[in-house]
């Protein structure tokens, strides 16, 4: 009998030995030197990681270009008093003036911080906010929820004073607007209608044009179902990507000039960035991921297998791309399986692999910090 008593004691010991609760200490960044120093007007690269919905794991990473040190999750330690850290689902990051603007979609806010220190200046409450554009001292933020109608909810663009961080105006656009861009005094908003694909209404296919003087929609341009990205090229034209309907209509790329669709490219495009006269895009998943180079003057694809990934670290889920304006280096963000650390890869201007490092969960948005 005695030895059985000892088993009970042993079990008690096991309980005691297993660790107890401690204080939760604020999260500090983890650093990794990627061994690549670039001295230019560009000091660093901010990477906003989305984090899986509900996990509250939107995180901000920073690559110091001059030292090559990549720091993961810098926001909590620089803003220790911010309750529940940066928030849930980071969706866009941009610098305007001296401020770093971060759209935190499921925290229904735009977080504004000092661009150099990443110390918070405050936030703007905007429900279900998506993407950013700036012009003349104002920030424009697209949101999925603007005006409920009988079928669904129309999206909107909020106008925010960048000095006071106050919402000053709101303009209703199409369904589930995503990216938006300012071009010649007008704001172009790509409406996706992404959630309507699961309803009888179907995808949205319009770009809403807002006159910035009156902040009213003055025109809508019919493009293709499920619009996503809209960017300016150096010739003042707009490049608009559509995701397609996932069934019959494939993803495509369109060029809009003077509010008219002037050309299109039958090329599946999930994301892209410009370098000189080239547009570099990515699409697909896993081994089927394609990195294409398109000459924006001729609209011809000049390379459909641009980046050479090392075989031991293949890309899983290309989720974002950004190009160093000075060196032409290409940074590709990999969301891997969406619920573990992502990766960022760096390639030189010829597409040769330089390095990669781990990021937060779902890296997809980035911007450069200038001197």
């Amino acid at each position: 009998m005695k030895h059985l008593k000892y088993i009970i004691y042993l079990l008690f010991v096991a309980f005691v030995a297993s660790s107890c609760r401690e204080n939760d200490i604020i999260i500090y960044p983890t650093e990794n030197n990627v061994g690549d120093k670039l001295v230019s007007n560009y000091l660093g690269l901010y990477v906003l990681n989305e984090g899986n919905m509900g996990s509250n794991k939107a995180t901000l990473d920073y690559l110091d270009l001059s030292t090559g040190v990549y720091s993961r999750n810098i926001y909590p330690s620089r803003n220790p008093n911010l309750i529940k850290e940066l928030g849930d689902v980071g969706n866009d990051v941009q610098i305007y003036g001296n401020s770093l603007w971060m759209v935190i979609n499921m925290s229904h806010k735009v977080e504004v911080a000092d661009a150099k220190t990443a110390v918070s200046r405050g936030h703007v409450d905007i429900p279900n906010c998506r993407y950013l554009a700036f012009d003349g001292g104002f920030a424009y933020v697209s949101t999925y929820v603007g005006l409920p109608n009988s079928e669904s909810v129309l999206g909107a663009v909020y106008k925010v004073d960048t000095a006071s961080l106050k919402v000053v105006d709101k303009c209703i656009v199409g369904y589930q607007p995503d990216e938006l861009v300012v071009n010649k005094g007008k704001l172009y908003v790509a409406n996706s209608g992404g959630y309507n694909g699961m309803k009888a209404i179907g995808y949205d296919n319009r770009v809403s044009v807002i006159d910035l003087k009156t902040f009213k929609v003055t025109n809508t341009i019919k493009v293709a179902p499920n619009l996503f990205r809209v960017r300016n090229d150096k010739y003042g034209r707009l490049w608009v990507s559509s995701r397609g309907d996932m069934k019959r209509i494939p993803s495509k790329l369109f060029i809009v000039e003077n509010d008219v669709v002037v050309d299109s490219l039958d090329s599946r495009t999930d994301g892209f960035d410009f370098r000189g006269d080239s547009l570099i895009s990515y699409s697909g998943r896993g081994a089927k991921t394609k990195f294409k180079v398109i000459d924006i003057r001729t609209m011809k694809m000049v390379n459909d297998d641009f980046l050479k990934f090392p075989t031991d670290v293949p890309i899983k889920t290309a989720y974002g791309i950004i190009i160093h304006p000075a060196t032409g280096d290409v940074y590709v963000m990999d969301a891997t399986n969406y619920v573990s650390s992502g990766k960022i890869y760096c390639f030189d201007k010829d597409g040769n692999y330089k390095w990669h490092t781990l990021t937060g969960d779902i890296p997809g948005h980035a911007c450069f910090l200038m001197k």
Binding site: M1, L4, I7, I8, L11, F12, A14, F15, S18, S19, C20, R21, E22, N23, I25, I26, G54, S55, N56, K57, N73, P80, N81, L82, I83, K84, E85, G87, D88, M106, S107, H108, K109, P127, N128, Y144, V145, P148, S152, V153, Q176, G194, Y195, M198, R243, M246, K247, S251, D270, G284, R285, D312, T336, N337, Y338, V339, S340, S341, L358, G360
Partner: protein
């Protein structure tokens, strides 16, 4: 020792009778052990909680009670209305079968049974089996899970000269919790009795929670307390049973209705303290069971069930896109189990189950899936003096049919027929089985089992959006277990009862179904990607002491070690890491002190460190949590009417913790209750 199955029934009621006496006079009359017929005998015993022991736990639902079983991890989203599911030995919720009064509860839509919806109010016994219930005389479905939980409602029992029992129970507690239940048991004839149990629960679901972080030098970085919102629940439940005894057999019929309206509180994230998701449930089923020994050798059992579940999901959060969806599920189940005793110590069984599931929804382009499942089991049991063994094989034949308009992803084929054969082997060596002259006894046995099982992809896995992925394979589990069991009973002295059991196991999960976004937004796809290796140890021990007359102390201690590693792909950053939400160490302890009419119960639950995502890094680290619950019960009589007053305090030390990331659990909370038996 061969007895009729009526004897088995008798043993149940005798055991119950023994317990009632035990409660009143606090003597230790033990259960009358009647050996059942071989096909009914279980080779590997289960973990059980029953009767008074179950009543004394500070548990509201079946889910709370299951926390005291070794090898079980409860996923609890917090509050009365939060979803509660169980995972046995890290194999995943979908591998667990939950049986309510003998028939498996199904949810073909998402495979999840929210155990928070099953009240403990009228439950007589909860038992849990690893592998399967190792009695061969059972439906084919019972052979099909990696682990099973059996919930049995209380059997009516009547004292001499009384033809009815009436019980009224009311509880009031924190979060504006109010529960009221009645139980009416009626003897209709000598062979037929009925019970009607109805319960009403309401709660605002509001409780305070706290999130706090400090700087490395100990200063408070933030410390915020808020009230949990949108966690309100209102539920009604009616459970009607009619039980009958026939010559060498019995039958029962059951009707169950559960209706609830609840808020889904959602995750607490930065800048979001309230959400607007609501869910309405209406779960009903009727089931019947008939069992008879046709001859001394041949026994048969017939089961039938029809279930209808309605779920209404609404998102009224103005910051989100509105959702208003209704789902209707139906299930028809028919089963026959037949056992034959070939020789005194050798028997065999054959069972066949048919199950039909249908899911309808009012979402756009819904696939309207229908599933036809045929299950056939063959089993044999051998009972030798030195060894008991059981072998079974289950054949599962599943066919899905979809709405003809359903469109599929390009790379996917249309048909989805699954045919699988899954074997199991259970062995037990009773090394010591002694009954001494003074009435004390000792048993010691070794046991082992190996079992293969699988889980079907659910309708959600397969047809979540308007695009189908019928290419999913079933997720399969393979288990090896080796255990020991020791029991000792004394008739006098301080120690009255001692029980110890320990099991070591190794499980593997293949083709684990994992959700992956399609790369584009709004679209998810399910893939057979995961591979998990699980090594674990479950230990359970209990002891009863009687230090003096009228004083009985019982203790129960349970410990679980689990090492569950993701071994899907060496290239993953989480390769060889512990899978999410599985603590390495977990356990529980219960101490119960009964003195005259007073009963004091203390229970402690511990869950060690774990990670909320696949990668075992600091960002995904979750603190251990442990809670202490206390309850005090006083039984008394006014004239001849029995009454009981209870007071419970849960989470006595007010620990602020999350079981699931960003779903805060209640701090200290209490309940008072009053019960009258007429």
């Amino acid at each position: 020792m061969k007895l009729l199955s009526i004897g088995f029934l008798l043993s149940c009621s005798l055991a119950a009778f023994a317990q009632t006496i035990q409660k009143d006079s606090i003597t230790t009359i033990e259960e009358v052990v009647v050996t059942a017929r071989l096909p009914l005998r279980e080779i590997v015993p289960s973990q059980k909680l029953k009767g008074a022991e179950l009543e004394r736990l500070n548990s509201q639902s079946v889910a709370d009670a299951l926390r005291f079983f070794s090898g079980v991890q409860l996923k609890d989203y917090g509050g009365v209305g939060g979803i509660k599911t169980v995972d046995i030995r890290s194999m995943g919720t979908h591998h667990i079968g939950i049986f309510y009064d003998g028939i498996e509860l199904g949810n073909a839509q998402n495979g999840q049974i929210d155990l928070g919806q099953y009240s403990l109010d009228n439950i007589g016994e909860i038992s849990m089996y690893n592998g399967q219930k190792s009695a061969i005389f059972q439906p084919a479905s019972d052979f099909g899970n990696a682990g099973s939980v059996y919930i049995r409602t209380r059997q009516p029992r009547f004292t001499e000269g009384k033809n009815y029992n009436l019980k009224l129970k009311a509880k009031y507690g924190s979060s504006d919790l109010f529960r009221f239940s009645t139980l009416w048991e009626q003897r209709i004839s000598t062979a037929v009795s009925s019970s009607l149990n109805a319960e009403y629960i309401t709660s605002s679901g509001k409780y305070k929670f706290n999130y706090r972080r400090v700087t490395p030098n100990g200063e408070v970085a933030y410390d915020t307390t808020a009230v949990r919102e949108n966690g309100d629940v209102r539920a009604e439940r009616v459970d009607l049973n009619i039980n009958g005894i026939i010559l060498r057999g019995y039958w029962n019929a059951k009707a169950y209705l559960y209706h609830s309206q609840r808020g889904i509180p959602g995750a607490i994230v930065n800048n979001v303290w309230r959400r607007g998701e609501r869910q309405g449930d209406m779960n009903t089923f009727v089931q019947g069971r008939f069992q008879k020994d046709i001859s001394d050798r041949f026994s048969t059992q017939w089961l039938a069930k029809y279930a209808f579940y309605r779920t209404h999901y609404v998102n009224r959060d103005t910051m989100m896109l509105p959702i208003d969806n209704r789902y209707w599920q139906q299930e028809l189940y028919l089963s026959t189990a037949n056992a034959y005793e070939i020789m005194r110590n050798w028997s065999a069984s054959v069972s066949y189950d048919f199950r039909w599931n249908k899911l309808n929804a009012d979402t756009y382009r819904f696939a309207f899936p229908t599933r036809f499942s045929h299950l056939v089991s063959l089993a044999t049991a051998l009972d030798l003096k030195w060894m008991k063994a059981q072998v079974s094989v289950l054949g599962s034949f599943v066919h899905d049919r979809l709405h003809p308009r359903t469109e599929f992803l390009e790379e996917v084929t249309r048909t989805n027929n699954i045919n699988k054969f899954t074997p199991a082997l259970f062995i037990d060596f009773p090394l010591v089985d002694k009954l001494y002259n003074d009435g004390s006894s000792a048993t010691f046995s070794l046991r082992a089992f190996a079992k293969r099982s699988f889980r079907m992809p659910t309708f959600n896995d397969l047809y979540y959006t308007d695009l189908g992925n019928a290419n999913l394979k079933p997720e399969s589990a393979l288990q090896y277990d080796f255990g020991v069991r020791f029991d000792k009973r004394y008739n006098k002295g301080l120690m009255r009862n001692f029980h110890f059991q320990a099991d070591g196991y190794y499980n593997t999960i293949h083709d684990k179904i994992i959700a992956y976004p399609k790369g584009q937004q709004f679209r998810w796809t399910m893939l057979n990607l995961g591979k998990v290796h699980i090594t674990g140890l479950d230990v359970m021990t209990s002891v009863s002491l009687q230090p003096m007359k009228n004083l009985l102390v019982t203790g129960r201690l349970q410990y679980t070690y689990q090492d569950a590693r993701d071994v899907t792909d060496k290239a993953d950053v989480f390769y060889n890491d512990q899978i999410p939400y599985i603590p390495y160490h977990s356990g529980s302890a219960i101490v119960n002190v009964a003195y005259k009419n007073w009963t004091l119960n203390y229970s402690f639950i511990y869950s060690g460190k774990r990670y909320n995502q696949q990668e075992n890094i600091a960002y995904n680290y979750m603190q251990p949590w442990y809670t202490s619950d206390l309850s005090l019960q006083y039984d008394f009589k006014v004239c001849t009417t029995r009454m009981r007053i209870t007071a419970e305090v849960n989470n006595v030390f007010d620990q602020k913790y999350d079981v699931i990331l960003n779903y805060p659990m209640p701090g200290i909370n209490g309940v008072v209750g009053f019960q009258v038996e007429l």
